[in-house]
Subunit: 167 residues, 2 copies
Amino acid sequence: METNSMQAEEATQTHILSPEQLLAHWQGHRKLTRRVIEAFPDDALFSYSVGGMRPFSELALEMIGMGGEGIGGIATGNWEAFPTPNTPTTKAELLKLWDEVTETINKTWPQISLQRFQETDVAFGQYESKIYWTLFYFIDNEIHHRGQGYVYLRSLGIQPPPFWERE
Amino acid sequence: METNSMQAEEATQTHILSPEQLLAHWQGHRKLTRRVIEAFPDDALFSYSVGGMRPFSELALEMIGMGGEGIGGIATGNWEAFPTPNTPTTKAELLKLWDEVTETINKTWPQISLQRFQETDVAFGQYESKIYWTLFYFIDNEIHHRGQGYVYLRSLGIQPPPFWERE
């Protein structure tokens, strides 16, 4: 690995991953989470949980709020709640809101400068950290709660979608 | 955001996050997972689960195997199983193995060139993808299964450690 030719190539390679790759990583996880929402029976999505935790609809709404508000804050420094005039009460309404956030993220992403990821900001007016850290927090929080949704599905006797599929 | 001075700064900022920041991100998650292992009663760690899933000891052993073998493969391209002569049967043994992987990751990390993260490799001789993708898979798989451990703990009536604490 330590040859001169490798080092020469390395000089042209200045990042672990590109912004385009990070967007694909995030949206890949969001596609999987969408499949987890779909896997729930309509009623269980809004009512079922294990160990006194929140039903998966509430976990999904947290992700929607975090991503929908968060992408704007990340891009502009203005942390404004994603408009959700009516809290979804059906799976179809929840998926519609999910897809709106997907579009918002895709549209907003190109506005984020590379510089921005290393800037410090106070996310949602409360949590101070570098922007890359905040963004990974959104993704990791989604993975964390989605993993909980897998347990809900398994305990309902439903096979969750494969974890490794992201398209 | 689009002023000339911002663009000038941007020219010196060539990454979303540095290798040091990514290592801290991974080890931060591993510290939290270690606290989740500690939070389980000894017997429940090896026997308790929900929905017919694996007990948390087995999920932790998967993380140990993936991280312990994976860091070597990432650094060198040689994917060799992390030596675990005896499968742990107590929490203390499991934590000891966890800490050995922590050390191995810290020692091996500086050998990874920046170039390497964008190389394509066949992880564990089976899964072809870019190295940055493989590494995020390790981290994400850990978050996913740890989230499941949170449900196990909650259903045992035990408060899990806070998700946002990574030190």
